[in-house]
């Protein structure tokens, strides 16, 4: 695989379990070593100590020394980042505040829930004000509010000019905050780019809901190759583009169908267009479970 991350963006690293997301991150941080290939972080070869000073990292499912208090834990990691005691005294309350853990500095980590540990881990990753923040599955173990807070932190980091690189398989998080994404499976990069470039803007299908059906409903559906959907009280039908049908032709077919329906006494309630989502793209690219195993 080959990809690059632009400075100052939020980059989502997507893939199913076992696709190689964590492995890639571990290689970037020299937790494990590649059998071949090379990588650079902040334009320097891997392992450069100067670069490591500018990186913050939160591992997946972090486990931290539970005998330490939140403050002792952050001090330990701050010292490893060569921060002074005075800097840490100022910075620790700030980062605990940022991750929503104000007032927990003196509590031991063993008394924290999984979500709280995740937040303290995140505080550890941003403690030294790094240029690049690498987060491996940062939403794991967080409730919806916690997830939103982490997303907000990532957006804040981007606004401060930091680069955020995070792996996940929660697609809604990616759609809402990422500038660019990479999708990988079985260690291969399937696609990489801006979301609006990857996800097709063309209609995937159109839903039509009728309050009163046109005359000869079934014949009319057949004429336009529409699909009847039995659902609730309304009369639903779905129009799907054919395999070789271009967007203008599909649009033409839709317009003719609506005009025909109305002329046959139908009363239209709504028309809704469904475009491809990231989830559709993900499923299309990664495929079914069988093909992943």
């Amino acid at each position: 695989m080959s990809f690059h991350v632009e400075a100052g963006e939020i980059f989502g690293f997507l893939g199913p379990n076992g696709s190689g997301k964590s492995t890639t991150i571990k290689i970037l941080l020299e937790i494990i070593f590649p059998s071949s290939g090379s990588a650079k972080l902040l334009e320097k070869p891997l392992g450069d100590r100067g670069v490591k000073r500018q990186i913050g990292f939160l591992p997946e499912n972090p486990y931290f020394y539970d005998y330490l208090t939140a403050e002792q834990f952050l001090r330990f990691h701050g010292h490893l980042q060569q921060m002074s005691g005075r800097q840490l005294s100022k910075r620790i309350p700030e980062v605990l505040d940022v991750v929503g853990m104000r007032g927990t500095a003196k509590y031991r980590l063993r008394s924290f829930s999984k979500g709280m540990l995740q937040r303290v881990g995140l505080a550890q990753a941003i403690l030294h004000d790094p240029k690049l923040v690498i987060l491996d599955e940062p939403m794991t173990g967080l409730d919806p509010i916690g997830r939103k807070e982490v997303r907000d932190i990532m957006i804040d980091l981007r606004q401060q000019g930091k680069t955020v690189f995070f792996s996940t398989h929660i697609l809604s998080d990616v759609e809402s905050i990422c500038d660019r994404v990479a999708i990988l499976n079985k260690g291969n990069l399937l696609s990489c780019g801006r979301l609006d470039e990857l996800v097709s803007v063309e209609s995937k299908y159109v839903d039509l809901v009728w309050d009163r059906s046109p005359q000869q409903w079934e014949k009319w559906l057949q004429e336009f190759h529409a699909e009847y959907i039995s659902q609730g009280d309304g009369l639903y039908c779905k129009l799907i583009p054919a395999a070789e049908e271009a967007a203008p032709q599909f649009e033409d077919r839709l317009q003719k169908m609506i005009a025909s329906g109305l002329s046959q006494g139908g009363r239209l309630h709504s028309v809704s267009r469904k475009s491809e989502t990231l989830e559709d793209l993900f499923v299309r690219q990664v495929g079914h479970l069988e093909s992943r195993v």
Partner: protein, 253 residues
């Protein structure tokens, strides 16, 4: 400075370790028990307290060295706490050295506390402080530091069970090489003779055992003290360097 913080963390972890607390309490009871053992021995009560007390410190120290040595690094790997450490501007050798120095600090504190405790018991029995014990205790400490280095060396590439097994094996071999050499010198098998005598020259932990001598009040010569100390220093240095090399490119899965 990173080495210092890693070492401090090892010390902090050991302070909260319940296994070490229980083992320490057991050792303290054993030293106290030596007082009663001394009472039932004929005119030898002080010697028994000294001998059993120092042996207890030695056994407890070796236990702590093996326990910490095989677990400290392994726990970091098992619980993946090492991931956040490795991502920092710290070299792998600094992690190993920090871990080892942290263990040294723990072992020093443990032996110091036990020694103070032993002297308190001896003060009660003998009504005076016998400073002659200190060289023997210092050599015991050097031996314990060596055991810790062996454990760190094995744990840099092996599982805790195997590391513990190999470390204890090495320790026991080191304790019997002197006897083995005595057998070898009387043996008619030239190969065994060569092997046993040279093994003792290379690795002899009995050289660190002055307990019997000081308990009986014999004089300790300078060579008996300084030669093993120098040996321990180079032995530890050698093993730590091997550990650095093995850990340098290890995948921390």
């Amino acid at each position: 400075m990173s080495i210092f913080w890693v070492a401090k963390n090892v010390f902090s972890e050991a302070r909260h370790n319940k296994v070490l607390h229980i083992a320490g309490a057991f050792a303290a009871v054993l030293i106290l028990f030596s007082f009663f053992m001394g009472e039932v021995s004929l005119y030898q009560n002080v010697k028994v307290v000294k001998d059993v007390g120092m042996a207890t410190i030695s056994i407890f120290g070796v236990f702590v060295a093996v326990y910490l040595g095989v677990n400290t690094l392994y726990k970091e790997l098992e619980q993946r706490t090492i991931y956040t450490i490795v991502s920092k501007p710290i070299d792998r050798y600094q992690i190993i050295l920090g871990k080892y120095l942290g263990m040294i600090a723990v072992l020093f504190a443990v032996v110091l506390l036990m020694t103070i405790y032993l002297y308190a018991v001896l003060l009660f029995v003998e009504k005076k402080l016998d400073w002659q014990l200190l060289p023997a205790i210092a050599l015991m400490l050097a031996e314990i530091f060596m055991v810790a280095a062996i454990a760190v060396f094995f744990s840099s590439f092996s599982s805790p069970f195997l590391s513990g097994f190999f470390t204890v094996g090495f320790f026991l071999i080191g304790r019997v090489t002197y006897e083995l050499s005595q057998f070898g010198q009387r043996s008619k098998n030239e190969f065994f003779k060569f092997f046993a005598t040279n093994l003792q020259k290379a690795f002899d932990l009995e050289a660190f055992n002055l307990r019997g001598k000081v308990a009986h009040g014999f004089t300790i010569y300078r060579d008996e003290f300084f030669y093993p100390l120098a040996y321990a220093f180079f032995f530890i240095l050698f093993l730590l360097m091997l550990a650095f090399l093995l850990f340098r490119k290890r995948d921390l899965k």
